[in-house]
């Protein structure tokens, strides 16, 4: 788990969290071991945060097999399925840090994946839970890109029926087709909608037309000269004149 010393110095830490992370997590390590024995090389990488959560990345061709193996091992509760676009947004970060020094920070970040790594721009993400042991697993898989740029993955619907709507949403939002899906219509968007809104290169037009004030929600103070030039008529409007200009 990533711990930053500067944070823990100023804020109270959880007692339980510290104890839990000191001891190895047999339950979650066991899940990773069981999956590895089921899938062999299908398990690419795993990441366990003791007492908290576990991530497993599987190969794209093992995606359905991983779901079946987990379902067989008691992870019968389907939580969610979605995807991540790891490409840094070409439109910049949502908010820039006003405290950071502003020297040449406009370079676009490199693409880097999160826990358990990854080689592709898109990753599928799904979570299933064991309702008896009350432990969940977050599965990830790289989505390989075909020569023509299309993305496709096999469907989970035969394994977890609840994946139906989630895959429809993921398909329209990220442009990932699910092979074998029984009802591949759009979930939310109109039928003739073009583009995939949750891709990072899909512009959020409302934000581009009118920038959000964001962290700086007050306009900078007007210059003294301008306030004086504004004269008596604008005194009430600006509210910042100290009265010296009029008297």
């Amino acid at each position: 788990m990533q711990r930053s010393q500067s944070w823990s110095a100023v804020v109270p830490l959880s007692d339980t969290d510290v104890e839990a992370s000191a001891s190895p997590d047999e339950l979650r390590d066991g899940i990773v071991a069981a999956l590895t024995s089921d899938l062999g090389d299908g398990v690419v990488d795993s990441h366990v945060v003791s007492g908290d959560d576990v991530w497993v990345r599987v190969a794209a061709e093992s995606w359905v097999a991983a779901g079946q193996a987990l379902h067989r091992r008691g992870f019968t509760y389907f939580c969610f399925l979605s995807a991540i676009d790891w490409m840094p947004s070409p439109y910049g970060r949502g908010e820039d840090d006003p405290s950071a020094d502003d020297d040449g920070d406009d370079t676009v970040d490199e693409m880097r994946s999160g826990y358990t790594g990854g080689d592709t721009r898109f990753q599928l993400l799904a979570r299933v839970v064991d309702p008896q042991r009350h432990v969940g697993v977050t599965l990830k898989a790289d989505v390989p890109e075909a020569a023509d740029g299309s993305l496709a993955m096999p469907t989970w619907v035969p394994v977890y029926a609840g994946a139906n709507w989630h895959e429809r949403e993921t398909a329209e939002m990220f442009g990932i087709a699910f092979i074998g899906h029984p009802d591949p219509r759009k979930m939310y968007l109109p039928g003739d909608f073009e583009g995939h809104p949750l891709r990072k290169d899909f512009p959020l037009l409302a934000r581009m037309v009118k920038p959000w004030p964001g962290i700086v929600d007050v306009e900078p103070m007007p210059e003294k000269d301008e306030a004086a030039e504004g004269g008596t008529a604008d005194d009430n409007a600006t509210g910042e004149t100290d009265g010296g200009a009029t008297s």
């Binding site: 788990m1 990533q2 711990r3 930053s4 944070w7 100023v10 804020v11 109270p12 830490l13 959880s14 339980t16 969290d17 007492g51 908290d52 959560d53 991530w55 379902h71 019968t76 509760y77 389907f78 939580c79 969610f80 979605s82 991540i84 676009d85 947004s89 970060r93 949502g94 908010e95 820039d96 840090d97 006003p98 405290s99 999160g114 826990y115 993400l125 979570r127 309702p131 009350h134 969940g136 977050t138 035969p158 977890y160 029926a161 609840g162 139906n164 709507w165 989630h166 939002m173 759009k186 979930m187 939310y188 968007l189 809104p197 949750l198 899909f202 959020l204 959000w212 964001g214 962290i215």
Partner: protein, 390 residues
């Protein structure tokens, strides 16, 4: 799994046979009924397309998206503290409860925890929003069957709870009160006594509803044995909350995971029902409101002293990482998968809302029921449109 696919296959054959019979016999004409997007029988703008054979539903499919607001995209251009004002509006009847899992996820990434007093007050407000939310459900339930009285009682008593939430947070519907590291403010003077009085009123409200509605013969005959969902199907579709517990799965995220909240410090019970029908779903919710009043009462007596805000920097930067936190919201499991890149705002937020999964079972459970049962089944599954469409 085999059971499901077999069943799906059978229902598919049945649908085909029904269509074929319509075409051959021509005695009853098949009909496609379009309920919604604006129809008093639906909660908001959910559209249901139902294919009917006489009075029976051959095939039904909810059509969502009339209220899709794209919160997952919008969170990517907000700072972490700004996100709470958005996600408040997902389940608008229990809005404070929406803020909590997101704030907990951000706190998990930052490796901080709210002070004990803040955790207590968070839990109290969380349960109050559950009472306001599910209380209205109990009243609204009668309206679905033509009983108008309970909804007035529900609105009357929900008002007390909303007043409490307003008293503590300043917002009746959208508190936006939860902060990374604690709460915006402490409780106002006299709030604890008033809350205890209101909890007494709410328990009386539950007794009234139990008597008036759940004891009603028409209500029982409309609800019992209708819309049965077995536990394995419920789990496959990711049903959560009272819908899952009504199918006999004893699982409550308040009890079964360790969160920096105060539920483990009080004595309460997780109610389940073995039947899995509409009646069971409503009954479990009624018991849960009662339990919530008990939780609030006990927590009010044990609020620890201390600050309500941990020391956090003025400009909050969340370290790089990924975190998943879900809580037992009024509608079911509500969770956020938060990916941070160390910036001011999240890189990606996956919002797992309860109603989305709860409604995805509708095509399965509506197959073969009669038209009036569509309304009661959907009412008992209990969804909020904003929670489906996000």
């Amino acid at each position: 799994m085999t059971m499901l696919s077999e069943r799906q296959q059978l229902s598919y054959i049945a649908a085909q046979a029904a269509d074929a019979r319509l075409n051959v016999e021509l005695e009853t004409e098949g009909m496609t009924l379009n309920i919604g997007p604006q129809h008093p029988a639906t909660h908001g703008t959910l559209r249901i397309i139902a294919r009917l054979d006489g009075e029976q539903v051959v095939w039904a499919e909810p059509s969502a998206g009339y209220m899709h607001r794209g919160y997952e995209k919008l969170t990517e251009v907000r700072t972490f503290p700004q996100v709470t004002s958005l996600i408040n509006r997902i389940d608008w009847l229990g809005s404070f409860a929406n803020e909590v899992p997101f704030i907990l996820a951000a706190e998990k990434l930052m490796d901080i925890e709210a002070p004990p007093r803040a955790q207590h007050i968070r839990t109290i407000l969380f349960e109050l929003s559950r009472i306001a939310n599910v209380g209205l459900f109990l009243g609204d339930l009668g309206v679905q069957m033509g009983a108008v009285t309970p909804v007035f009682m529900a609105f009357r008593d929900r008002e007390y709870v909303l007043n409490l939430i307003e008293g503590a947070t300043g917002g009746r519907f959208h508190p936006n009160f939860d902060r990374i590291g604690g709460l915006k403010d402490d409780l106002p003077k006299g709030w604890i006594d008033e809350t205890k009085q209101v909890m007494k009123k709410l328990r009386r409200f539950c007794d009234e509803i139990d008597d008036l509605l759940f004891g009603n013969e028409i209500f029982q005959s409309r609800m019992r044995g209708v819309g049965v969902i077995p536990s394995d199907i419920a789990l496959q579709y990711g049903l959560s909350g009272a819908n899952l517990r009504a199918s006999g799965v004893e699982w409550d995220l308040r009890r079964d995971q360790s969160l920096p909240m105060a539920w483990d410090k009080v004595d309460w019970k997780v109610w389940t029902h073995p039947d899995g029908d509409s009646w069971a779903r409503c009954w479990v919710r009624l018991q849960e409101v009662r339990e919530s009043t008990k939780i609030v009462d006990q927590l009010l007596d044990t609020i620890p002293a201390g600050p309500v805000m941990a020391k956090v920097p003025r400009i909050i930067k969340v370290p790089e990482g990924e975190a998943w936190v879900s809580t037992e919201n009024p509608l079911g499991e509500m969770g956020y998968y938060v990916v941070s890149k160390g910036d001011l705002g999240p890189f990606r937020v996956k919002i797992r809302s309860a109603s989305f999964n709860n409604m995805s079972i509708a095509p399965w459970v509506l197959k073969g029921v009669y038209v009036p049962d569509i309304i009661t089944i959907l009412a008992s599954l209990y969804f909020i449109l904003g929670d489906i469409d996000r």
